[in-house]
């Protein structure tokens, strides 16, 4: 149980570091807003996705993009931690590997949450109106997404030995996951193979859940969206914990 303090320590460190790097915070806020304005505004002029407008339509997708990038890179960052030896100091402490994982995971999760919180504040500019229900649901999905994706990043990062693999992770994991999730287009009329890939992508359900809560535009029942998100978290937390136990 003394590990609880240790978990708190790791979490505290990550959040401190995150808040201290203001420039990173600013750039990762500005980028998605540019997406919203340029992509959503520009392309949106010629696309019709219902009464809310294209900007509102992709808002949950951009929110997801923010969480995805913040948390996966946070996770991959353990490669660096291992390099600078700071992590050795953590590994030699009495904390169990599982607790170290949880501390890190909560830290990354908080980073992603703060980051997306800023974007959520801009929602009304793009035609989003919040109710207690829709805001609560979006926050819940953001947290689940952040937990799962941080775990994924940590799992991969803990097994890498250098930063070289990061580009691969970005090209072959994050980008496909994002673009094939219905973040930017409706998924109801996709051609065969694309629809299969999209249905197999857990992020599809998370975007759908957020979009359903915000705009009442569900492709799946809310219960399924939530269920998939929960499984996504459970599996990746388990994988991450295991990876940390095996990490050297």
């Amino acid at each position: 149980m003394s590990d609880l303090w240790g978990i708190y320590a790791l979490w505290y460190r990550e959040v401190k570091v995150f808040l201290r790097e203001k420039s990173r915070l600013v750039s990762s806020t500005v980028n998605p807003l540019i997406w919203m304005v340029a992509f959503g505004g520009g392309l949106g002029a010629s696309i019709s996705v219902g009464e809310a407008g294209y900007q509102a339509f992709i808002f949950p997708g951009v929110l997801m993009l923010v969480v995805l990038f913040t948390t996966i890179f946070f996770g991959l960052y353990v490669v660096w931690d291992k390099k600078i030896d700071f992590f050795k100091e953590v590994l030699v402490s009495p904390m169990s590997r599982a607790s170290i994982f949880v501390g890190k995971m909560l830290g990354g999760c908080t980073d992603g949450f703060i980051q997306s919180g800023i974007i959520i504040l801009f929602g009304p500019l793009f035609g989003i109106t919040y109710t207690a229900y829709s805001l609560g649901a979006v926050v819940l999905f953001v947290i689940l997404l952040a937990m799962g994706t941080t775990s994924l990043g940590l799992a991969i990062g803990s097994q890498m030995t250098s930063f070289e693999g990061v580009g691969l992770v970005q090209s072959f994991l994050i980008m496909p996951l994002f673009f094939l999730s219905g973040a930017l287009y409706p998924i109801d009329n996709l051609p065969g193979w694309l629809s299969w890939v999209t249905y197999a992508n857990p992020l599809t359900y998370i975007v759908d859940g957020m979009r359903g809560a915000l705009l009442d535009l569900n492709s799946f029942p809310m219960a399924i969206d939530l269920g998939v998100a929960a499984v996504y978290v459970a599996v990746l937390v388990a994988v991450g914990t295991y990876a940390f136990k095996k990490m050297s």
């Binding site: 003394s2 303090w5 240790g6 708190y8 320590a9 790791l10 505290y12 460190r13 401190k16 570091v17 201290r20 790097e21 390099k83 600078i84 030896d85 700071f86 050795k88 100091e89 953590v90 590994l91 030699v92 402490s93 009495p94 904390m95 169990s96 050297s248």
Partner: protein
């Protein structure tokens, strides 16, 4: 025995970093590990602290097997690493605070111990600055303070005083001595400073190529070399004749310097000098740990590290 190793071995692809080491360390001891670069000191410490799994053999630390109960081992120990391990993006005080949390230091104790540790290493003034802005020596001191913070039963120190100025070194060693004396902490330390090892360690092990070459108290080790030692700069010594003298145990000639180990050097120096020929320099002294080291490993231990601490820290940044 608070630490005992059983044929502990670490092999990398084409190198055996630690080769079947058996040693026992008693509770409360200050135990020194001396060895040239690459001898396997850090590797041995890493296995004892559960950071590296042994290839073969095992060790018991505070009664727990490092392979089977690494968690229990880690609860008993503290470690100061050879390479920088403080968090640059945080302040010195925050580094200590996190350490106190991770090691389960009681809430009421945290503030007091952090204050005390900072004072010890003279960092109170800079405690609230980011570690990024510290010099290499300051970082080293902070890491040392951190290792002491949770008052572990066994403390591993890998080159704790490397690159520090003599005054701080003195400070740190005094504290290490006090820790062992007053609180009975067992201390395992690697160092390149022979005089420090000599005056502080109860026992030292000399390690080379992953093997323990000698292990004893500094005074016994020195005695094994001989009671006194004459070193002289000379062109053509009568080496065979000198070796034949009844009180001489050993005589070597290398690079124009003759080294003679003998009993009661003061009484016999006249006779030795007469037989050396033209001498341009001579000294008579007791052997130091350095001589022991030289004799066993055939190498001088570098007094000052080849690359100084600032460089090590710079490398960690890149």
């Amino acid at each position: 025995m608070i630490i005992q190793t059983f044929g502990i071995t670490k092999r990398y692809k084409n190198i055996t970093a630690v080769n079947r080491v058996d040693l026992s360390i008693e509770e409360g001891e200050i135990f020194g590990l001396l060895g040239p670069n690459g001898a396997g000191k850090t590797t041995l410490l890493s296995m004892l602290t559960t950071l590296l799994p042994p290839t073969e053999g095992t060790a018991k630390v505070n009664g727990y097997d490092v392979r089977k109960e690494p968690g229990k081992v880690r609860e008993s120990i503290g470690m100061v690493f050879q390479t920088p391990s403080s968090d640059e993006i945080l302040t010195g005080r925050e580094n200590l605070y996190l350490h106190a949390l991770m090691y389960g230091v009681a809430k009421e104790e945290r503030k007091r111990r952090i204050g005390k540790a900072l004072e010890l290493v003279d960092l109170t003034d800079r405690a609230n600055d980011l570690v990024k802005t510290y010099s290499g020596g300051m970082r080293r001191r902070l890491e040392l303070a951190r290792g002491l913070l949770h008052e572990p039963k066994i403390l591993f120190l890998d080159e704790p005083t490397l690159g520090l100025d003599p005054q701080t070194r003195q400070h740190i060693w005094e504290y290490i001595g006090r820790l062992s004396e007053e609180q009975g902490v067992t201390i395992i330390v690697t160092t390149h400073y022979m005089e420090e090892a000599d005056s502080l360690c109860d026992r030292v092990a000399i390690i080379d190529h992953g093997e323990i070459k000698a292990l004893d108290s500094p005074s016994i080790l020195k005695m094994k070399v001989g009671k006194s030692m004459i070193r002289a700069k000379v062109e053509h010594p009568k080496l065979e004749y000198i070796k034949g003298l009844p009180y001489v145990t050993k005589a070597d000639y290398k690079d124009g310097i003759v080294t003679i180990i003998l009993n009661e050097g003061g009484a016999h120096i006249q006779e030795v000098l007469l037989n050396l020929g033209e001498v341009s320099f001579v000294e008579l002294r007791e052997p130091t740990l350095n001589d022991v080291f030289l004799q066993i490993t055939g190498k001088e231990i570098r007094e000052e590290p080849a690359d100084d601490v600032a460089e090590i820290y710079a490398r960690a940044d890149s």
